[in-house]
């Protein structure tokens, strides 16, 4: 495969592989998580939690496997991505386990469903599946450009994934789940990656047409009418998702991702202007007609209003949770973020960070997300092929938008949407999909940073020197 990889003959400076840096950071990430776990136990019961060994070994095993896989199959990969993802996943497990201990949530679950199932063991299982998928990506995908072959298959797959939830009953006001054999899957999480693959492949082919064939009007390059087609289709798709699945988050993510990739592919600012205009029109239009979206907007504008509180006090509870954390937080296990009740360990897990780790912890967690995005963008910059650039920026852009939409929603910065914090929140689809996302980014960064092989010897010389048995 490596023959296809390097189209350039310029030998890169022999970059250090940085695998040992990664290993040191991994130790750090796992140690922080294990200490956090011990902290929760000590704060809540005064003793080290009994699951401590299992959790520690589990995390070390997952991190170790991931690291070894990277060492073997992507030796030149970015050294930060894996430790950052591991740290978030580890902290997420601690927070979920901490919320599992909440008497309030246990009582609520018992009164609603008759029984309480702790989420942390399942989350650990999902994390294992996620890391397995991560390893599989690195093992099977020797070069990210293989994905380019599946551009249109990806399109079909993404469409199917996005449309499927329409045919399943909605849960909690949004149709973003599909249920197969008792398992709930959020296809949007996977669609995010597959769509990025499709866009990257499609735009790489079409970008010249979209960029060059345009008319200048008022300082903007307006695309030709027929080139508007794809963006209109995508726009319509995201509006349909919003209307039929009442899922603001996926819709926003989907459209934002497209605009970012279109802009990068064409280098035309006009696409951004168009994109923003269209999303504004779409959002306002749908918000006027869809009661569900309206409700969310009302809750965002007036979280403590009577009307909002009567419907759901989630946002108000989340805001009070953040406020109660203050600068340094109450300490792990000592807050009352479980007052949010429903989805405290999923969509609203950030409130637990805010309350128990305080402003300091929130800033740290947000900066970790910021760093992941930064490493992704850097990978895009370093990538040597347009498909790799587009895919990397698409994935990191989607990641950034998702973080912004969820964290912004929980903190009352924008209306709340039904998405989860990558890695932190309880939920199988999210963890598994995001591990795959990190896997692809690591693969692209490995390709980008890998030193170019020595120029292939001439075929003539090869012919003569081969010794056949």
């Amino acid at each position: 495969m490596s023959v296809v990889t390097n189209t350039t003959t310029i030998g890169a400076i022999d970059a250090p592989s940085r695998r040992n840096t990664e290993l040191a950071l991994m130790v750090f990430a796992i140690a922080i998580s294990v200490f956090a776990y011990a902290n929760v136990g000590l704060a809540m019961d005064g003793t080290l939690p009994s699951g401590m060994l299992g959790y520690g070994f589990g995390l070390i095993l997952l991190g170790g496997v991931a690291h070894l896989v990277v060492r073997k199959f992507a030796p030149y990969a970015d050294p930060l991505l894996l430790p950052l993802a591991t740290l978030l996943n580890g902290l997420g497990l601690v927070l979920i386990w901490r919320l599992d201990q909440s008497e309030r949530l246990i009582a609520t679950a018992k009164s609603l469903y008759g029984a309480f199932t702790p989420s942390a063991p399942r989350q650990l299982l999902y994390s294992a599946v996620g890391v397995a998928l991560f390893a599989a990506v690195l093992f099977l995908l020797k070069d990210h450009r293989i994905l380019q072959r599946y551009t249109y298959i990806s399109m079909v797959a993404a469409l199917v994934l996005l449309i499927l939830p329409m045919f399943f009953p909605g849960k909690f006001g949004a149709k973003i789940w599909i249920t197969i054999a008792g398992f709930s899957i959020q296809p949007g999480e996977f669609a995010k990656i597959i769509i990025a693959i499709f866009f990257a492949g499609y735009l790489m082919v079409k970008r010249d047409a979209l960029a060059l064939a345009s008319r200048r009007f008022m300082g903007l390059y307006l695309p030709r009418g027929r080139d508007l087609g794809p963006i209109l289709v995508i726009w319509a798709m995201s509006i349909l998702i919003l209307v039929f699945e009442t899922d603001l988050g996926t819709s926003l993510l989907f459209f934002g991702l497209f605009v970012i990739m279109l802009y990068v592919a064409t280098e035309r600012t006009s696409w951004i202007v168009f994109g923003l205009l269209m999303s504004a029109v779409g959002a306002v239009g749908v918000a006027t007609f869809e009661p569900h979206v309206q409700q969310r907007v009302d809750a965002w504008l007036d979280p403590f209003g009577e009307k909002t509180m009567a419907h759901s006090d989630q946002i108000a509870q989340a805001l009070m949770s953040f406020g109660s954390g203050g600068t340094l937080g109450t300490g792990l296990g000592q807050g009352h973020s479980d007052l949010i009740g429903f989805a405290a360990n999923a969509d609203f897990i950030l409130s637990t960070v805010g309350e128990e780790l305080g402003l300091a912890g929130m800033m740290a967690v947000l900066l970790i997300y910021g760093l992941i995005v930064e490493r992704g963008v850097r990978t895009a910059l370093a990538a040597r092929d347009p498909f790799g650039k587009l895919l990397a920026i698409g994935l990191s852009g989607a990641f950034a938008i998702q973080v912004f939409v969820v964290a912004g929603g929980v903190m009352g910065l924008i209306p709340l949407t039904g998405m989860t914090m990558p890695f932190l929140a309880a939920g199988g689809s999210s963890v598994i999909a995001n591990w795959a996302l990190i896997g692809i980014l690591i693969r692209i960064s490995d390709t980008a940073r890998r030193p170019a092989p020595a120029p292939a010897p001439s075929s003539d010389a090869e012919m003569t020197q081969v010794v056949r048995p």
Partner: protein, 484 residues
Amino acid sequence: MNKPLRRIAIFCGVLILALLVRTNYLQYVRADELNTRDENRRVRIERYAHERGNIIVDGNPVTTSVETKGSDFKYKRSWKNGPMWAPVTGYSSQAFDASQLEKLEDGILTGNDDQLFFNRTLSMFTGEKKQGGNIVTTLDAAAQKAAFQGLGDKKGAVAALDPQTGAILALASTPSYDPSTFAGNSDADTKAWNNLLKDKDKPMLNRALRETYPPGSTFKVVTAAAALENGLYTDIDGKTDSPLPYKLPQVSTVLQNEGNIPCENASLREALRMSCNTVFGKISDDLGNQKMMDEAAKFGFNKEIFTPVRADASVYPKDNRPQNAMAGIGQASNRATPLQMAMVAAAVANDGKLMQPYMVAERKAPNLDVIYTHEKEELSRPLSGENAQKLQQMMETVVKSGTGTRALIDGVTVGGKTGTAQHGLNNSEKPYAWFISYAKTSSGSPVAVAVVVEDSSANRDDVSGGGLAAPIAKAVMEAVINKR
């Protein structure tokens, strides 16, 4: 492609920056506001996280805190003898807020009061557990017990004061309730609370402070005071100008006395002794509505009284002549709380000086430092010393040889006045039995008391202040005197 990539990097940076700004805004700028909102259950969790301070009577707490199970509110209030003390302390419930002292002194009891700031800061450094302060009341446990037991199954109220200081010694109301039954926030608490609300006997009504009754004949003390103060009569043994029968002014109604008693031109002393309606009705009319209102106001009528627990305003009405004459004998629209009538007796006993009634003697910080002590305060002077002594003689005669003989205590001078207030349409309902009195020893008067018994199972003729209410007043006075 790198130029747009860099711009997208900046865009992503802006997104993260927006989140960072927002989290700073929420957790730093708005933290205090979010933290203290009513909707924030943490406020209440914190409030019940440690033991609440106690309300103290005679050096012993009448309240306590007990740990709750299965709730995020760790401690709840409990009372040692709830029904007896509820009219004093009020309730403090996790689910239904608090009332009276429990509510007014909440800051001290929870330890959150600003006066305790230094204390709190100190214990933050010493690592002591947060505690609430204590409220030391003026109440007298023996007097309260006598009052509560004296009322027994009857509906009524007792208020007792120290005339010289205004300290409230007893404050009983029956039927009462046990605030411990709904101090938590469980379903059982809600049930108990709803049952109390539904109870048609209104057990949660503090009759000593919040119920106004027609004071009946006990009000004649005020009317007599008005007559003396305004110079209508100066000699309590001199004849008054009182015809019998006495027709109310402007109307054809003839005012009746209870029974065939010699009230014609009776002296003030005799009129009070026999409780002549005709004499005092005429005095009220002679003085006129304004003077009667003025004198009543000096005794504390027509405004709310804060002990610091609020007592309803007693009412001496602004009214026309016949109604004013009726109000002068405690009927018509004249209404008084038991506390008000205790104040009347107390002012007379204290030689005309009415002291501000109060029930909080001291507030104590959790470390037992006294942070507040009540200073006694004169509220008004409804009587001159001379007139007060005349009125004392009259009231003492009532107990010695009049309607109030049941309140006699060996070796102690007792002054009092009975009352039987009629109410309901055409006086159809059972009357209220009243008795107000004071006891006097060589060192002045240690106690003044007012007792009202609403309806009892006794029939109408038997309901008289002397019969039902006086023994309760006597028991309360004895309880106070025996301790001195």
